[in-house]
């Protein structure tokens, strides 16, 4: 636990936790990043599932770039939020489920985009890739659900 205690007690983490604006601003970044990653993964998954079939898969290139930016915003804002409560959130089951879902959802989305872009732009996709689209969509859904649950289940600070 040494590192987490140190992290939580750094001057910056203490500032983030106590300043009246810092934490809400972090939450704002985290919400915008969430909408970008999850929203675009869902749009690309919908396309793989055939809604709408006419949408060219070539557009996945820019869509996945925006999703990656959203992911980066949330990796940073998420780490800073984590730093304010590291020792309490590390053994929170909901937090661990959220992190696992993000890991799975991220890798599966990356695999889906890579595979889809290798096919014809107006292709109808094989059933296996549709399963992949459902898996990544569900993983991000679970990440949102368990992210929200952390607020209800984390140990109080004192």
């Amino acid at each position: 636990m040494g590192f987490l205690t140190w992290l939580q007690e750094t001057e910056f983490a203490q500032f983030l936790a106590s300043d009246p604006y810092a934490y809400p601003i972090l939450l704002c970044f985290h919400a915008i990043g969430m909408a970008s990653v999850v929203g675009l993964v869902w749009v690309m998954s919908a396309r793989v599932l055939g809604f709408p079939k006419s949408l060219s898969v070539d557009a996945f290139h820019h869509m996945s770039t925006i999703a990656l930016w959203g992911f980066a915003v949330n990796a940073v804002s998420g780490f800073l939020i984590f730093s304010t409560e590291a020792t309490r959130v590390i053994d929170n089951t909901e937090f661990l489920i959220k992190m696992s879902s993000i890991l799975i959802g991220g890798f599966v989305a990356w695999y889906m985009v890579r595979t889809a872009r290798g096919l014809e732009p107006d292709a109808s996709f094989p059933f296996s890739l549709k399963v992949v689209a459902v898996v990544t969509s569900a993983a991000w859904f679970i990440a949102i659900v368990f992210g929200r649950l952390i607020a209800y289940t984390i140990k109080p600070p004192f």
Partner: protein, 164 residues
């Protein structure tokens, strides 16, 4: 205003929101999921009108809009549930009124686009630039929905003390 707010709070919906374990968090989850659907689609549609994703035809991108409408409806319904739970928390908060105004603005902008621009844009060839009014509406849409998201996220944090 107080009698009306008290009435809202005593509706069966308000009581259910306060007394059913897990219902309030479930509405919050729905609200986050709805906002991701709305924002995800609007990012794609608005940026396409502004000239990004040129590989995709205008008409194909516009076919995503029903997902945005679905996200909006999810958030309208879950939002009504939050208000019914404790109307005092919202109707005493300036950020709530700002958010309502912005939602109205976003809705009117979307209505204006649907009536005035949608048909013309859907018929444009991929390489053509969208007309200026549609571009202005796309910028407004991205800006307004982002502000709605921020107002909503900050609303509980900056609620006046002792609301309800």
């Amino acid at each position: 205003m107080d009698p009306l707010l008290r009435w809202i709070r005593e509706t069966p919906l308000g009581a259910a929101m306060r007394e059913t374990p897990g219902l309030f968090p479930a509405c919050e989850m729905a609200h986050f999921i709805g906002l991701s659907m709305l924002m995800g689609v609007m990012i794609v549609v608005d940026l396409r009108i502004l000239g990004v994703f040129r590989q995709a035809s205008y008409s194909s991108v516009l076919k995503l809009l029903p997902f945005a409408v679905a996200g909006f409806v999810i958030n309208l319904l879950s939002g009504i549930c939050f208000i019914a739970c404790n109307p005092f928390l919202y109707f005493t908060n300036p950020l709530f009124f700002a958010k309502l105004g912005l939602v109205l603005l976003g809705g009117l902008n979307a209505l204006g686009f649907t009536i005035g621009e949608h048909k013309q844009i859907a018929g444009l060839p991929s390489e053509a630039a969208a007309p200026l009014p549609a571009r202005i509406m796309a910028v407004a849409s991205l800006g307004v929905w982002t502000l709605v998201l921020l107002a909503g996220r900050l609303l509980p944090t900056f609620a006046p003390a002792g609301g309800g």
